[in-house]
Assembly symmetry: C2
Homo-oligomer: 467 residues x 2
């Protein structure tokens, strides 16, 4: 599978099939499309970038690619964390960055969004009508809905409100032969035929290219109350987490370990307790007296688990400051060096084992691993930090990267809770799902993309045959 052998005339066909300015072939420009935020060292160089402005543009590009068996790497805002949009030598980038329209229908309570629309833009368009699009990856201000759908993105409020797939009612998708199909639609319940909408959510561009999403909206979130608690150890914090999730549905339940707290304090200087072993941020959005009761219960759970300090507030600005700290954590930790970002999750009761196991791996491999977590649903982000110009540490970090995933699998967990497999975690996928499920997945993949041109090398190994 390669487009390297394309002739100039063949590439000119693509340029000619689309309006001026849609197809870029300038190497400087192409360079910026090679990586997503995972900065995969194995990234190739694309032949061209198609900045589609419509479904028809996507179809024209895919038809051309199918004719010449050229790999197509779909790309949203390029904020992916697993190398799902890493470029392939001789392939084309199919960027949806120019497809940004969002249309809200308040009575049906849906948003119809083009894939390049940012998550924050969908939230804002909904808010105009007093409505709310809940999924909130930490990167919501810069990540696109198309990428969210491709990875089935999660976020902070998912512990109560679910993940992207729970909000996708319908999709328009361009298939591997260039056909555009509509799956699902603006219906809250619809079981006619196979659940193809749900199959495409989370398929990381390997089955088709999402060109429009119909998204379910909720009434605006009620005012929230936020609790911040510090604990002497992560074990004490995870005890509080289990007590809280057993009793109620918090609207947020996030954890930061000591390394994360310090990195964030270095960046934001907001007076966090650098000596704390862990910091918990919990939130309720139950209104009025019910919210007060939940907040009291959460405070009680933290105190019973040995919290050093518990601070609760129904002041939105004060509460938001702590959430901003949590959202800044990845950026803060990236200042310490190159980061290998994990996304492992486990069944909730195994969270203490996962966190203790990660600490043990960090010690054994002599690397820093900072842990932040969407703790309420067992999804953690251990960040393995590699100091600049330390080749030995870089090698040890690579080993630790695999060991953390191995650990999650041993704990009946997942190698990725919300970022996707992409290219960086592909070698571990079969260890989690097993050869039979991998085979089943490949049967679906081949049925939908027989030429293997859609995002080859993401999730699954790329087909080996050349064109």
């Amino acid at each position: 599978m390669t487009g390297v052998g394309l002739t100039g005339a063949e590439l000119a066909e693509l340029v000619d099939a689309l309006p001026d300015g849609v197809v870029a072939t300038d190497p400087d420009l192409l360079g910026k499309y090679r990586w997503d935020r995972a900065v995969d060292p194995g990234a190739g160089m694309p032949l061209a970038a198609v900045r589609a402005e419509s479904t028809e543009h996507v179809q024209a590009a895919v038809r051309w690619a199918a004719r010449h068996r050229v790999p197509v790497v779909p790309r949203g805002a390029g904020t992916g964390l697993s190398g799902g949009a890493t470029e392939v030598d001789g392939g084309i980038v199919l960027s949806t960055e120019r497809m940004r329209a969002v249309d809200v229908d308040p009575l049906t309570r849906i948003a119809v969004a083009q894939p390049g629309a940012l998550n924050a833009e969908v939230k804002a368009a909904a808010a105009v009508h007093g409505l709310w699009y809940p999924p909130d990856p930490s990167s919501f201000e810069i990540c696109s809905i198309g990428g969210n759908v491709a990875t089935n993105a999660g976020g902070l409020c998912c512990v109560k409100y679910g993940v992207t797939t729970d909000y996708v009612l319908g999709l328009e998708v361009v298939l591997a032969d260039g056909t555009a199909v509509r799956l699902g639609g603006p219906r809250l319940k619809d079981v006619a035929g196979l659940s193809l909408t749900k199959l495409f959510v989370g398929s990381e561009g390997t089955l088709g290219i999402v060109t429009e999403a119909t998204l379910r909206l909720l009434p605006a979130q009620p005012p929230t109350s936020t609790l911040v608690a510090t604990f002497p150890t992560t074990a004490a914090a995870t005890a509080a987490i289990l007590a809280i999730t057993s009793a109620m549905r918090p609207a947020m339940l996030e954890l930061m370990d000591q390394a994360s707290i310090n990195a964030v304090e270095d960046l934001l200087t907001m007076g966090l307790d650098r000596s704390a072993g862990a910091l918990l941020i919990a939130r309720t959005d139950s209104p009025l007296a019910a919210g007060e009761a939940e907040l009291r219960a959460m405070v009680g759970a933290c105190e019973a688990a040995g919290a050093r300090e518990v601070l609760a507030t129904d002041d939105p600005a004060e509460g938001e400051a702590f959430v901003v700290a949590r959202r800044a954590a990845i950026t803060a930790i990236e200042r310490l060096g190159t980061v290998l970002l994990e996304d492992v999750g486990v069944p909730l009761p195994r969270l203490p084992e996962l966190i203790a196991g990660v600490e043990a791996i960090a010690a054994a491999r002599d690397v820093t691993i900072a842990v932040i977590a969407h703790a309420g649903d067992g999804n953690t982000h251990p960040l393995i930090v590699v100091g600049p110009a330390d080749a030995g540490q870089a090698r040890r970090a690579e080993v630790a990267f695999g060991e953390v995933m191995d650990l999650a699998i041993r704990l009946d967990g997942t190698i990725t809770g919300e970022h996707g497999v992409g290219r960086l975690k592909r070698p571990w996928l079969v260890d989690q799902i097993g050869p039979d499920v991998l085979d089943l997945s490949l049967r679906v993949k081949r049925a939908l993309d027989p030429l293997g041109i859609l995002n080859p090398g993401a999730v699954f190994a790329a087909p080996t045959e050349a064109r």
Copy 2:
């Protein structure tokens, strides 16, 4: 595709492969497996019924069926309403009625259920630990989880709490070659590989046979308050529905039209207003003052829409009485004659058009169509009543059955919101999803069931080739 040509020796192979009493071939006994609740007149006669007691039994039966190319019709509790478990001549029934175990893990907040467990049994097992399995088809006391998963079943609380797929974290599935695979698992977030779990939910036994489901549980539902309102017309009731759903998330929002009210009153004699054009049952489970505020807002919406009478109660028994009335509606209407049961849904704002259109079809075809609806999510059940021994009316009812689905499709709706396509609605599927999506679905079907032995004729046309 037929197993009619099987020899006695071949059938004996199946009997011998499984413990005594698992395989039934007695014609009297087989007779009871021919139909589900849809009572499809086209039902065939099975060769054998396999009452599996374990995943291994299912595997043995499917391996045998694959070897001899015998159709396998999976069957839960037989409460399906679309003929999804209609028997096929020369096929086998794969009944999961004996696989009833339910195991709750309160800390992970999941239930692991075998497919024959009743929905009510899962709810009860969860309740022991103060937990709640929300999906609640009206038939929850007699329908099985396996059937719920196969149809992606809905229910009354879905307007706030979502449908079956939203609670399925993992499945064990026996594939068409007898391989058993585990998809997903006890993790609240997991995006490793394709979303195959979600693909199997709602696949109506055409892709595999579910042998275990891992279900997400919530903390127990808070106490509810219930509102019942009568309206002079269904139009007034739908105006109230749209006002309510624009402002809040009710935990239930059900509608009964005049024919349904009268049928239920005939059955239960509970003092319903027989002259009302429509009755609305709405519920909030927001706790304390928040619930009171929602209840007041719902009362206001009903009054503003011209309700004749509005009754609100936070007494659980009183509230439940009205819900029982709603749940009894199908049974009550079935006493009037043979019922053709629809399950059409539309985008919420088109609900008034759908209900008016159904009334017009009833008038034009001179048949009674009673309407009950999960109104809050646009999902309606028009029940076309055919009096006994009226052949002309039976023919007109058949025509009306198709016209209601055509109407739903014209209104950008669905032919089935929660019951499944089964065999009865199969001719209309392509009109809703279009030939390209049907083709896409068939590619998935053939990739997973190349011999076409799994529930042939359900959802999709049966393969025509004989063995």
